[in-house]
Amino acid sequence: MTISKRTFDVVVVGAGGSGMRAALAMSEAGLKVAVLSKVFPTRSHTVAAQGGIAASLGNVTEDNWHWHMYDTVKGSDYLGDQDAIEFMCRAAPEVVYELEHFGMPFDRLDNGKIYQRPFGGHMQDYGKNPVQRACAAADRTGHALLHTLYQQNVKANTNFFVEWMALDLIRDEDGDVLGVTAMEIETGEVMILHARATLFATGGAGRIFSASTNAYINTGDGLGMAARAGIPLEDMEFFQFHPTGVYGAGVLITEGVRGEGGYLVNRDGERFMQRYAPNAKDLASRDVVSRAMATEIKEGRGCGPRGDHVLLKLDHLGDDVIRHRLPGIREISLKFAHVDPAQAPIPVVPTAHYMMGGIPTNYHGQVVAPYKTGPEEVVQGFYAVGECACVSVHGANRLGCNSLLDLLVFGREAARQIIEDLARNPHPKPLPPDAAERPLARLARLDTQKEGESVAEVGDAMRHVMQAHCGVFRFPDLLAEGVKQIGEVAVRARNTVIKDKSRIFNTARVEALELDNLIEVAQATMHSAAAREESRGGHARDDFPLRDDVKWLKHSLYFSAGERLDYKPVRLKPLTVESFPLKARVY
């Protein structure tokens, strides 16, 4: 197969909120940028974000970034890096105002300022009372944000490669990153995109689980590409299960519902969160609420004929508030749960939602990995932002509304860093001769493979193993068995067959390539979870129910080659303020 080559200053892979925020800054700075996306930019999964974006504007209740920082550190169960967290919380008001200036249709207060609602884990005065920190456009904040950023990129003339799928990273023998290989989905054409800077903004990988709030395209491609190129993945055992996925369908019901006054009840109609988090109740951190729900269900207080879910009650808010503040939720509830939330409660279960781990970076978006001298050496030419990156601001558990914030803050910062780095480095390094070898071999295998299992079959097996062995509560025997089984699934994934060999818009091929990435993520998650013998944030071990700061206050690094784990320290020192000391986490 002949492959063409094009050269850019920067290749951005991903046109969700983070990729587009970065692209905007770089296009405006006059760099030659190519932005690749598997889907038209506004179809990226940022579009599904509902509840809001966190910033201590203090428009409704008094607030400041120190409190936001404290909540984020505490929410992370102290695994978050405090330098990055300070950086993010301080920059939050500025990036939100910027977004408003870009045209974001935020809801407004009577005084004309941006509307803010309460959200889980966001408190006043270092954890005392809930604060209104989530800046919202109804319950369509992600949609409004993504379209606004796309619109600004249209204005800035950003060069989008729509429906192009990046296949693999190009690294030379020094370990420097020199671009990606990618395939145009419409034609099947493969191309090398050679660049001085490569920024991954490929989003999450919720599709490793069977019950997920994530879109079909959330297959962890950036992580798969990085892992195949020898970059470790950080803190992959920490996967967030959102308390309120619609029972059966998995579609998300935002925490904003509880922010507006909704609450959870068990089969006895009891508002059970009062027992688990007497202070924050239904607005405790997500890991806390999900575990409480799983416990209620396990102990026989679940609802429905099988007792396998609980109910989210919001009818007391009244039809008006629901139609006005939560119109999207009303729509989802009618369509996917067949209930009018103004009349009856919505059946919900904890559902796989957000990947706290990812490609390790510093707070400038530069990818850092153990290489020659230390655990956090910058990988030249490689950057990552958004859900695919692990900065780490979310540590062991992300607070709601901190992800959209993360996209904007680090999208913008990575762009600034790239502009600075490129000024110092005007000449691209030459491509290695084997630049496209790996992806071409993967494609050739799919072209020639005549027999084997289907991609759907192997994908189902993977999702089943992850769901059964690596869920809200994790058990030692199930994890050990999970490691074994996921390894077997990985072998099966190398022998999948697709019957469709066409070059034109071949989605069977795309799904087969995505499965390679999903498997990398699933393996990293299972191995990291089996190794971590403590409970922290989104990782809850039945056999080690407590957090263990002596042994486990450290980040995991999973290397795909050799299925090996290593660890690095947490950055406990913020940039300008005092560290928040380790404390037990109560809400």
């Binding site: 369509k335 070059r503 989605t507």
Partner: protein, 231 residues
């Protein structure tokens, strides 16, 4: 359940054809997209776009029993069999249910779909009243699925000249935003026998919009602004 699905792969087929599929599935509360994906498990050569599976990304617009809609939020049990699926009408077909949306997006881009405000931005947010913000409801929620524009006869006849309901809805979204300063340019941009005035209020667009938006009303409001500007 019985399905008839439009098939066309330019690499192997001389002409498009309809293929029958029989799927044993209990419609229950499943969506059409769930069924299509089960068919795709049997025949992986069937191509379509999909992503969010909850009606917010706009990927899986198609013609379902003669009417444009999103497969992911179309209840299977409500469809008459055989369920006939075709690509969105009026756009070139790339393959099967996948259409080339270039023309659709070109029209969207032609209305300058971004806020224009040349004042230096304030330190904090620009203020906007609750009522001024409410003007944007029913406009900003568009997911660019293309259901409306590809149901519009005026767009079928003049895809290169008529902006189409989706683009015009967004044109009005910016005209209606109190923070935008480009009203005159925006109206100039539409002052032409085709771009805006080809709409004959046939209302197909309103009928099919899966987000229950109303492009016809937005178009009427733009026409209104045009008239007011003359007098």
């Amino acid at each position: 359940m019985k399905f008839r699905i439009y098939r066309y792969n330019p690499e192997t087929d001389d002409a498009p054809y309809m293929q029958d599929y029989d799927l044993s599935i209990d419609a229950g509360d499943k969506m059409l997209l769930d069924a299509i994906l089960l068919i795709k498990e049997q025949d992986d050569s069937l191509s379509l776009r999909k992503s969010c599976r909850e009606g917010v990304c706009g990927s899986d617009a198609m013609n379902i029993n003669g009417r444009n809609g999103l497969a992911c939020i179309t209840q299977l049990s409500e469809l008459k069999q055989p369920i006939e699926l075709r690509p969105l009408p009026g756009l070139p077909v790339i393959r099967d249910l996948v259409v080339d949306m270039t023309q659709f997006f070109k029209q969207y881009h032609s209305i300058k779909p971004y806020l224009v405000n040349n004042d230096p931005p304030p330190e904090t947010e620009r203020l906007q009243s609750v009522t001024a913000r409410a003007e944007l409801d029913g406009l900003y929620e568009c997911i660019l699925c293309g259901c409306c524009t590809t149901a519009c006869p005026s767009f079928w006849w003049n895809p290169d000249k008529f902006v189409g309901p989706a683009g015009l809805l967004q044109a009005y979204r910016f005209l209606a935003d109190t923070r935008d300063q480009a009203t005159a340019e925006r109206l100039d941009n539409l002052e032409d026998p085709y771009r805006l005035f080809r709409c004959h209020s046939i209302m197909n667009c309103v009928d099919v919009c899966p987000k229950e938006l109303n492009p016809t009303r937005a178009i009427a409001k733009i026409k209104d602004m045009m008239v007011k500007r003359i007098v």
